[in-house]
């Protein structure tokens, strides 16, 4: 296993700097009062492509040698990672192919194509997806960039927590959502190198709680087609990300679907910013665990802001 290090995060910060935003860290007194803590929100909803995924994608794409880059890149994604790879490839001027289930929403296809990526559709399901990716790689010789089981991607995502620690001053804790685990792993790396006293908590939907169960069991437990509004968090851990969840994450905090929706709405209303349900999972976890964070300085990573405004979760 090629486990990335804190130095890889520092290198990523230099590498991706010209291609991503250094997003702001916002505070909010009202939400802090509700939480009984000082909250520092890292706003990746303002990031390129609307999500932190731009970081890992850019680090992976710009880590390729010129020789490798010529063959282009490929990935599978029904969400933000696909757009992020298309964006990063566009910045480097190379070809990208994104395998997407044909059942994905039209804006997702438009997003990838808008950044210049080529979309290849496949029937939904892991098997079909893997076959489609294999066919693309065989045809193009492209470099495959996994959404999270990739050292460069993890190091890239780590720049988010690093910036948060650099900009917010000392933090007692950082809370970030966990799906496949790329972001939380990078956050662990950033904290371990920049601020070892800062604890890292992962936040997860109860209805997709594979990370929680995996940490408890001591080995990877996969979710079987979990259903949650936090659609960015359905993936299960892989060995590389399980390593960080098992060894560096202090605790995995789970929240209900209602708690996610309530937290999402609270952020929209009080902070006047648009965040996606996956981001709200981290906010909900902090609001739910007042005793754990009482009086502390807590960083929360708001992972993205890509939502379908026609299908808001509180609509009747």
């Amino acid at each position: 296993m090629d486990i990335p290090t804190f130095d890889d995060v520092l290198a990523a910060q230099d590498r991706i700097g010209p291609h991503v935003h250094r997003t702001p860290v916002l505070t909010n007194g009202q939400l802090g009062d509700l939480a009984g803590a000082s909250l520092f929100f890292k706003c990746e909803n303002f990031q390129k492509v609307g999500a932190f995924k731009a970081r890992g994608a850019c680090n992976a794409v710009f880590s390729l040698t010129d020789e490798e880059a010529k063959r282009g890149v490929a990935t599978h994604s029904s969400g933000n990672h696909g757009q992020a790879i298309a964006y990063a490839a566009g910045r480097r001027g190379i070809h990208s192919t994104i395998v997407m289930p044909k059942t994905a929403a039209k804006p997702k296809f438009d997003g990838v194509r808008g950044y210049g990526g080529e979309v290849v559709t496949c029937p939904p399901g892991t098997r079909s997806r893997e076959e489609a990716v294999a066919a693309v790689l065989e045809r193009t010789g492209a470099n495959f960039i996994h959404p999270f089981d990739d050292a460069h991607v993890i190091a890239g995502q780590g720049t988010c927590g690093l910036e948060l620690l650099q900009d917010a001053g000392h933090l007692d804790a950082i809370v970030a959502p966990v799906g496949g685990g790329g972001l939380i792993s990078g956050t662990c790396l950033a904290a371990s190198g920049f601020s070892p006293a800062t604890k890292v908590y992962a936040a997860e939907p109860e209805q997709a709680d594979d990370a929680c169960r995996s940490k408890r069991a001591g080995h990877i437990v996969e979710d079987d087609a979990p259903q949650t509004i936090a659609d960015g968090l359905k993936a299960s851990l892989k060995p590389l990300t399980f390593h960080f969840v098992a060894n560096h994450v202090s605790e995995v905090l789970t929240v209900s679907e209602k708690e996610i929706v309530d937290a999402m709405r609270l952020v929209w209303e009080r902070m006047k910013i648009v965040i996606e349900p996956s981001s709200a999972v981290a906010v909900a976890a902090v609001l739910k665990n007042r005793e754990l964070f009482a009086g502390q300085r807590v960083g929360i990573i708001l992972t993205g802001g890509n939502v379908d405004l026609d299908r808001l979760p509180w609509a009747g």
Copy 2:
């Protein structure tokens, strides 16, 4: 007529500094491409009470002598000004009474009370409102603070455009919505003193176009109960604000209801921030008048972010 000056805006900036946010100025490449201009968004949706009204209210409340302040303040408002006065009075530790139509939405009452203001309800309509205000003033001896026909309020609103000019660098134009005209008047003051070459444009709903018609006619033309989704822009000009619209505003640009809703949604989707319909009026005016702003550096004042998430205008 007590016409405020640029010095009043400078004094207001010092006076209200401890009580309001210096809100960020955001840029957005995608919206800029759509407009064919460089856009600088002054984000008053992040302001205290969720709207620029906090500025004028704080300037008026903190301009009172101690003797005056003891008697408290009063105003009428069904919207952001009421909350802003309650907030400002709370900061100064004095009593505030807000006259509101009893038909106002419950969150508006809760907002005023949440900031410590006393709510007095009256039947809807100008006559009932004026009677209710007169009764409050007679009973309490409070200082009446008009939402916009007030030199201190106008000077306070002017700090918004001043900060925009200070933070964005040279601007060819500033576009702000016009309702009663407090914000646009203050913006004219700020530009005239800080950057005389910057043109000021007012943006207005077609369905509440009294400022446009007033400017054309050369005298105040009042709207008769206009209906527009931009509910913060229903008021008509008063002599003080008409002075600025007539003499300083380059042009009043009008937009349709559909253009307002489309612009609002565009900002939510692309910028990931929550703005209210009144703010979207300015954005819509810029998008609609590409030839007017082509290649220019244009500041847009996003006036606020107080929306009812259960009643979004694009919901079916």
